[in-house]
């Protein structure tokens, strides 16, 4: 059996990144976690360009996408992914502080697969992250034929 495909985490806040990584490490997730600090980096990774031009082919198991990010925000990244036939099958989980209805509505309208509000409370937060990791990293069967992750044009 090959190694599980990586999880792409697009999150600009270093503290959130640290907390998420800590939780994932604690639960011994087999998936590699790739961290992108803004929307541009996340798209670079998905299209294997820029600093990610040398990475192995293949789409990530899941994209955890923060809404508010510098340069290109989460909704824009989501729009790009869901508009690209090659990237469209990747499950995208919005991971955000916002409980605002319009964010929810817009995210689902653009094709998000899940929407998770980061809880303030430590245990809920950790449990949510753990569940996310386990479900999308392991339990969920990703779409087949995900080798074609390259920039086949938009």
């Amino acid at each position: 059996m090959t190694a599980p495909r990586p999880i792409l985490l697009a999150e600009d806040n270093p503290r959130d990144v640290e907390l998420i990584l800590a939780v994932m490490a604690e639960h011994n997730l087999a998936n590699e976690i790739v961290v992108c600090r803004d929307g541009v980096e996340a798209l670079d990774y998905l299209y294997r360009r820029g600093g990610f031009s040398a990475r192995r082919q293949g789409n990530p198991a899941v994209v955890l996408l923060d809404l508010k990010m510098p340069k290109i925000d989460g909704l824009e990244v989501l729009r790009t992914i869901k508009a690209d036939t090659g990237l469209k099958p990747i499950p995208v989980v919005m991971l955000t502080s916002s409980r605002e209805e319009r964010d929810l509505v817009q995210s689902y309208a653009l094709g998000a697969n899940a929407y998770v509000v980061k809880p303030v409370e430590f245990h809920s937060y950790f449990n949510a992250l753990k569940a996310l990791g386990i479900f999308w990293g392991g339990v969920n069967e990703p779409p087949p034929g995900l080798a074609r992750a390259t920039a086949n044009g938009r």
Partner: protein
């Protein structure tokens, strides 16, 4: 006294109308008089002509008759015959033309008598001349009597002519004066009307300018308000995103620290960590509540039928974790169907019922009543009553304020925003909220909804 623009306009236009009426009435009566005068003038001219005609007819007849008496030549009698046939007609015409003038009519009576007498005398003389010849009438020819008669007729006719001429002059003066007055009245009236209409125009224009200014100001304020609303929305959006993150980090790192260092920490240090974590959670709750409160003020209201009895059942179910293991006697009366926003009205009931559940916690048997009460006309009043710890009526107005709490945090939990939300939601529905209670004597919370929307 300050008059409104409408009253001033009505007064202005009323005055103008009154002037127009007065001028109309006076002009009408003057014109009528002028027409009457001109008719009377026509009569006078007719009378003058007829008088002249009558005089010459009479004189010619007398002259012709005298010539006949002297010469016996029948042809001289033709003026006499003319007079006999025409005088009655002329007199009748004169009578018509001087109708309404008693003095002239009296003179006309005398004139008629004189003329009749004169014609009769002439007739007699003519007959005498035919029968007896010149000698028979000789004494008549030179008699003064005939001359006197004709002079009398002339004199009478002259008097009548004078009278008519005087009447003509008098009427001409009268007409002139009346015309002058009419012109004067028209001039003054036009001037006054112009002034009045000018004032009314000025008033209306002033009013329109003012209204335009007010409308402009309102529009401007509306824009400002909209901008402020947008800003508020952006603000609460930013709060929702950015204020939560540090709190999450505090609690997250405290959690990590606890996991990493708990075994080596003493009891006191562990308690400190718990306090930090709880404070962060509490602030998170406050932020969430505030966001809900702010959303309640901005969100659009839906207006659909809401079955309150159904809603209460749902809320009871939702609160089952809080009521578990409690001894609560529910009395829920028949509840009406109202019109409003179901999600918001649900929040109202959740707040009121969860409060009732919360504040009866110290009672071995809690009683909670929900029902309808009669209110003012046009409104439906719903109440939620409990036998809980109640409150001091002195602080009743504080109950519905944001973050106002009447109990210490360790007695009863809560952020103090629930009733503020209730009031805001009910106000937005056009209703009222109020409460009654006594310390340790339970509390009753009321809210009203306009029944006007019930038929919507």
């Amino acid at each position: 006294m300050h008059w409104s623009i409408e009253n001033r306009m009505v007064a202005g236009f009323g005055l103008v109308l009154a002037f127009v009426l007065v001028i109309g009435v006076v002009s009408y009566s003057n014109t009528k008089k002028l027409i009457a005068n001109s008719l009377a003038d026509a009569h006078s001219h007719g009378a003058l002509q007829a008088l002249e005609g009558t005089l010459s007819t009479a004189e010619n007849a007398e002259l012709g008759q005298r010539r006949y008496l002297i010469t016996g030549e029948e042809s001289y009698l033709s003026p006499y015959h003319t007079a006999v046939s025409r005088l009655p007609e002329q007199l009748r015409y004169l009578r018509e033309m001087t109708a309404g003038n008693a003095a002239q009519q009296r003179r006309l009576d005398s004139l008629e008598r004189l003329l009749t007498r004169s014609l009769e005398a002439s007739k007699e003389a003519i007959v005498l001349r035919r029968d007896q010849g010149f000698e028979g009438v000789r004494h008549l020819i030179f008699a003064r009597k005939v001359k006197q008669e004709i002079d009398e007729i002339r004199f009478l006719i002259e008097e009548m002519v004078n009278e008519e001429s005087k009447a003509l002059t008098r009427r001409a003066e009268e007409s002139q004066a009346s015309t002058r007055n009419t012109i004067l009245l028209l001039a003054i009236g036009t001037l006054l009307q112009s002034v009045l209409l000018g004032s009314v125009y000025y008033l209306i224009r002033h009013d329109i300018t003012q209204r335009k200014r007010v409308a402009e100001e309102l529009r401007h304020r509306g824009e400002q308000l909209e901008a402020a609303n947008k800003e508020l929305e952006a603000f609460s959006y930013s709060v929702s995103h950015d204020l939560r993150a540090p709190l999450r980090h505090i609690d997250g790192y405290v959690g990590l620290l606890e996991k990493a260092a708990a075994p080596s920490l003493d009891e006191k240090s562990r308690r400190y960590l718990t306090m930090i974590s709880e404070s962060a959670k509490q602030m998170g709750q406050l932020i969430d509540d505030l966001l809900v409160f702010s959303r309640m003020g901005r969100a659009e209201l839906r207006d659909t039928p809401v079955r309150l009895d159904q809603l209460v059942k749902e809320v009871q179910h939702e609160l089952r974790h809080d009521t578990q293991g409690r001894n609560i006697a529910w009395t829920i009366g028949p509840l009406p169907r109202v019109y409003g926003d179901p999600a918001m009205l649900r929040l109202v009931l959740i707040n009121l019922i969860s409060n009732a559940v919360k504040f009866t916690r110290t009672r071995p048997l809690a009683t909670i009543q929900i029902g309808v009460k009669s209110g003012r006309p046009g409104e439906t009043v719903i109440f939620v009553r409990d036998n809980g710890v109640g409150f001091d009526m002195r602080y009743v107005e504080k109950l519905f304020g944001v973050f106002q709490r009447l109990h210490r945090a360790e007695e009863f939990d809560g952020t103090g925003i629930g009733l503020a939300n209730v009031r805001r939601i009910i106000h937005r529905h056009g209703g009222r909220t109020w409460a009654e209670g006594a310390v340790d004597g339970g509390a009753t919370f009321y809210f009203s909804l306009p029944t006007g929307t019930e038929q919507a």
